[in-house]
Symmetry: C2
Subunit: 373 residues, 2 copies
Amino acid sequence: MAIDQKPEWSDPNHPENCSSVVRKGQEQKGQPASIQKNIRFQKRRTSEPSVAELYEGVLNGDRSLLARAITLVESNAEQHFQKAQQLLQKLLSHSSKSVRIGITGVPGAGKSTFIEAFGMYLCDQGCSVAVLAIDPTSSISGGSILGDKTRMEQLSRNPRAFIRPSPTAGKLGGVHRKTREAMLICEAAGFDVILIETVGVGQSEVIIRDMVDFFMLLVLTGAGDELQGMKKGIIELADAILVHKADGANKQKAEQTRKEYSRILHFLQPATKGWSTKAYTCSSITNEGINEIWEVIDSFKKAGEKTGVIEERRKVQSREWLYSMITDQLHYHFFHHPAIMNLLPKLENEVIAGEKTVASAVEMLFSLINLEG
Amino acid sequence: MAIDQKPEWSDPNHPENCSSVVRKGQEQKGQPASIQKNIRFQKRRTSEPSVAELYEGVLNGDRSLLARAITLVESNAEQHFQKAQQLLQKLLSHSSKSVRIGITGVPGAGKSTFIEAFGMYLCDQGCSVAVLAIDPTSSISGGSILGDKTRMEQLSRNPRAFIRPSPTAGKLGGVHRKTREAMLICEAAGFDVILIETVGVGQSEVIIRDMVDFFMLLVLTGAGDELQGMKKGIIELADAILVHKADGANKQKAEQTRKEYSRILHFLQPATKGWSTKAYTCSSITNEGINEIWEVIDSFKKAGEKTGVIEERRKVQSREWLYSMITDQLHYHFFHHPAIMNLLPKLENEVIAGEKTVASAVEMLFSLINLEG
């Protein structure tokens, strides 16, 4: 009976080579379910590719091993962390040839349809494209991000493209680290363009700005109303503003909105030294303006390589990443310390109520921990 | 001979009650200058007012004891820290009746002349005014700040006003803490208005925004050019923008600049919920517009007290101050740890050069310290 449930590819002459699919409640007699689970778990563990295998796979652009390498850096398990760091260490020297592009936008701006259209255009030009998503607010697996892959239907089937949904948080600062490390793996895999999409709101724009070369903001027509709902200062992070959905009856309005943004941009400091941030219109339906955007990014890249702005930006980003991870770790250890967790809420209330000075509260907290080596 | 040099108020019948003023080089024979210095030093120490004396003095609005109380919170000495915290703890319940106003501006905008004119106006209205300055970049005593007091000549002589130059840094986060604590002391002393002026550039605007109720930005005519030199996003922190030096031949241009700022403000999210940030013109020479600004602040205060926005803001500020001081302390301990100081520069270079992953560098650093209690 068990043989009937073996998968299609099992060898009927050697059924022992393939484990059976056993329905729940039909476990073999005399063996409790928990032990069977254990066996299955060990089977998965031993089939996990080695660091060397993953290394080779990533460098050869093997999609399946690339995905597993990213899964490894995204894992919250301690032993996976060590293995992931070994892999990244080996891959580091192969990184940094890709253009790193960040994309954000107001809700409803059509980020996914734009990435689909822009990604397909790049593939048609002979470029390989990796799409990563970041959502610092995510704490549950999947969520809205899973939808992206199904929405980017054409691109996800294109052999030149690779789409990876956003990782979940786990440890403090986890999403940030995982996305950066996934980016490094994609670069080692030789992708020409890495698109990083913000999924969450709030801090995500700043986090992305800190890991990409070029950052663009997707907006809709009606600049004034939109800006109201937009996070403060986000326009000043952008290297380009794209007025999206510039098609059909909306085309003229989009051109007007583009002009409004141009006027605002005139008053603001550019996000990149020596670069003048401009507003553009584009449509993911008619593809109008899509090639223009790539030309803009290409000229940004060429100018930035010449002046060294991009290399300098990457150095600054690495340094800032180091320091932000140190802060994350310090916070993690401090705020998870049992004595701190016990006292902090009480002190916080006293400080807010104006019953205790901040300095004396901080002194009291630090007397509880020992920061010596 | 020594008796001739005793101060006026010395009792001639009991000259031993008063120490002599001894000219340099005329020290008593047989006693080296260093020992005499020591004696003088101890004399100063014992004459330091007690916490109870300072407490009474501050509550009674005694200018001299107020100044000494602020000197105490500004001290970097450990024993002064404890004493200052005792004093602040006693004063805390007397705080928070003042309006806290932050003032920043582009270089050359005339912050000091504005504060002089605005402060004099407030004094004439019967208000008492304390002026504090913050300069997070300061590390040497005095500096440009000392100039302020001499520049605000009229105001510094007004009995209703109290001007205090910016404290120097000392420990990490020190300037920030000292200015906040000086503000609490001034509030306990019953000042109606506390003006906090930014002296440094960069982070100071954000730091001030986080400690005041109302924040204003002084600008000059020619919005476009100025904005270029201004820190990103600073306009979005302001509750009012004042186009300063709106007098004489400059008056019409100032009005035009005001309109330009109004247009930009229309696109931005207001700094305070429910408040509409507007641009105004004023002159510290003709005093035109000065009273209007006070009316604006007054209506801000009345509306904010009604809706609870100001109380809520102060609570949020206290909470954020607590957390930022915790971060400061964590950084201080971490980055001053000998083992960290020894290894960090090497690891930083390796990370920037792309030879080491950030995560493995951080792991290596944290293996050097013990964060347990």
